[in-house]
């Protein structure tokens, strides 16, 4: 196949990307076993240009290719028929550009036209539908869930999203800013802002200092620790183990209040800016962070130990909401959820940078169920705490460096990709610039884009009362999906 090989966080010339025939490309993708990372269209004069980015996980490479599609072409042979990993990508491409993938088994709206949404229906004795949402019982984002049940048992769950659609990709072209990037998905502030800043730095050829890079990575790991602890609490809250819910809840407060001390915001808003970071971590603060993290580690270890010793907790977690490795691979699940199903993908270590290369992590023994999703969070909290401590030590060597460097104008006709491993998984930002050096396309993919379908699979043949437990275990983003 004709590809341009590139690295993560790299700018390439837009014209270096090979352009191949559309039908040949789709046929090749259908037969390929490389993992799609991004698949999106972009206006190209009279035509539409389709960009495809694939990850070669074995060789740790990213492959980019493109195809020019005449606007008169209204349909093509669907890739999803052969290769299910493309099913969301093709739906999104159809919604944005109107080129119909013929033979797509599940061609439904993604973010728009919800009034015309046709739900899958099951008929028979004692079957019934349960409709939930868009406004849920808890304080969470909107989405609609349609369960097909027989008695208590779920046969199918269909998830309709799009309620949060705010037109982020278009807004990025109108007026892009760090603050907008932070608000795409407010629980992954650092990860989104980091991806956006890295892409802007690549597109403008700006080199930031190692110190700024380190502070970004410290914040990224702190975000992971905080949200994972909160999620452990939420999982236990949903199975009515309230002690765990409250203890993890207050432990999370310790971590996010430390973020407040670093950056002035509990979620790290305003910390990262294009060209570096706005706030320093000095010796005092560094010591304080280590003390708090030690304290947090102690509490999390104790609490997890107590919770997992309780038979009522274990009986709810074990063998609930199982997603087999085959299903997970077929659906291209990524990130933490992927790892809890045995797919060993982690873009921090797959696309190594100078800071992660010396860090060690233990293999995770996946059991694919709710217990696995609980356990992987615990493992990642403990790991991230040790990563932060190591980063803080390295930071001492870079004390004299600048926090922020000035940025330059964007380089015309460029293409850049930035993948950041947020706490949910790989957050993929891709941007292109036109001949005047303005952004011409900004594409965002949240890990939830891959993983929502995994939740549908997880709840199949489970009791409907286990849905909240599965949902919290996945804890997917509505706004990151809806954009």
């Amino acid at each position: 196949m004709n590809y341009y090989t590139m690295k993560n966080n790299e700018r390439i010339n837009l014209l270096d990307i090979p352009t191949i025939d559309f039908n040949a490309l789709t046929a090749q993708l259908a037969a390929s076993n490389l993992r799609p990372v991004s698949f999106f269209g972009s206006d190209w004069g009279e035509n539409i240009k389709l960009y495809v980015i694939l990850a070669d996980d074995e060789n740790k490479k990213l492959l980019v290719t493109s195809s020019l599609i005449n606007k008169n072409i209204k349909e093509y042979d669907s890739i999803t028929k052969e290769n299910h990993q493309y099913h969301m990508f093709e739906r999104e491409f159809y919604e944005q550009f109107g080129i119909k993938p013929l033979g797509h088994p599940w061609l439904k709206p993604v973010r728009k036209n919800q009034d015309n949404y046709e739900f899958f229906e099951m008929q028979g004795d004692e079957t019934h539908q349960v409709a939930v949402g868009p406004i849920h019982a808890g304080v969470i984002e909107p989405g609609h869930f349609r369960f097909m049940c027989q008695g208590e048992k779920i046969y199918n769950l269909e998830i309709m999203l799009g309620y949060q659609h705010r037109g982020v990709e278009d807004l990025m072209l109108k007026k892009h800013s760090n603050q907008l990037a932070e608000s795409i998905c407010g629980d992954s502030v650092i990860a989104y802002n980091m991806a956006y800043s890295q892409i802007m730095e690549e597109l403008s050829g700006t080199q930031i200092t190692p110190k700024a890079k380190l502070i970004r990575r410290i914040a990224l790991e702190m975000e992971r620790i905080a949200i994972h602890i909160g999620d452990l609490g939420a999982i236990l809250g949903d199975i009515a183990y309230l002690m765990g819910k409250e203890v993890y809840g207050v432990t999370r407060t310790l971590v996010i209040n430390t973020m407040l001390e670093i950056s002035g915001s509990r979620f790290g808003r305003g910390l990262i800016t294009t060209g570096g970071v706005n706030f320093d971590i000095d010796d005092n603060l560094s010591k304080k962070i280590v003390d708090i993290l030690n304290n947090v580690k102690n509490t999390v270890e104790k609490m997890t130990h107590a919770a997992l010793k309780s038979s009522t907790v274990m009986s709810r977690l074990e063998k609930t909401g199982t997603v087999s490795l085959e299903t997970a691979t077929e659906l291209n699940l990524v990130g933490m959820i992927g790892r809890s199903c045995g797919i060993n993908l982690d873009s921090r270590f797959d696309f190594l940078d100078d800071f992660y290369k010396d860090l060690k992590r233990k293999p995770f023994k996946a059991t694919n169920d709710a217990y696995s999703r609980f356990k992987i969070r615990y493992k990642e909290i403990i790991e991230s705490i040790s990563f932060v401590k190591k980063f803080l030590k390295v930071l001492e060597k870079h004390k004299q460096e600048n926090l922020c460097v000035s940025t330059k104008d964007l380089i015309p006709n460029s293409f850049a990709i930035s993948i950041v491993e947020g706490w949910r998984g790989e957050i993929v930002h891709v941007a292109t610039t036109d001949e005047t050096g303005k952004l011409s396309r900004y594409k965002i993919k949240d890990p939830s884009f891959n993983n929502w379908y995994g939740l549908s699979m997880a709840v199949r043949n489970n009791g409907i009362s286990d849905f909240p437990l599965c949902n919290k275990g996945f804890d997917l983003s509505y706004c990151g999906f809806d954009l």
Binding site: V139, H165, R166, S263
Partner: protein
Amino acid sequence: MFDTLKMKLHQKKQYIPDIKNAPMRTQFRGLPVLNNSICDKCGKCKDVCPTGALNINPLSIDLSKCTFCGACKNICKNNAINFSSYYKLGTDKKEKLIVTQEITQEEYNKRAIEVRKEIYSVFNRSIKFRQVSAGGCNGCEMELNAAGNANFDMGRFGIDFVASPRHADGIVITGPITKNMAYALEDCYKSTPKPKIVILCGACALSGGVFQESSELNREFLNKYKVDLYIPGCPTHPLTFINAVLDFIRKK
């Protein structure tokens, strides 16, 4: 069993005893402190503001738009813009959210929320909300959840989020109100029994925030119905939310 009890001993007391005067870390960006006299009107802060919250003649910040990102503070050479850690930012009128040099902490607090007899006589001891996320980024939603945790524990003042609008005294809206959520939001409002209260929470809900130029919003709801409380922040801090609601439902 013993592990659970040991855990309880290990945790001790976690709640904030005096929520009205809870200490806040100095790094927190709360009420802006402006100094118009040393501002040289260079306009850089206005250019860097992501939401157009700033006005330079005279220097003022509209908290309904402000995301408290601190970009204006960082770019100002004369140090004319600062953020204090004062967190009681909720007001009952949108005009009161505009901060100028003259508006100090005391001044802001004094006029922020008017005491209304019809409110405190009914809701003084208990007020229950239905939260509607209408395009919110999950930042405000997480902070509202945190307002009910063991630290802030707003349940002790009778403030709670309930599962159905039928059980609620009012709705709390977060997010810029997307087209796709407009119908559901109005439906929720109509399902809430009278008398009902509407609270806007966070920069997105107040003004559209960073999304105000988006073509995917439908903010008609706010023209149709009266809003009782505006709570700024990006996201709103739990202390800001709880204090605003407490000031709203109580005699001062």
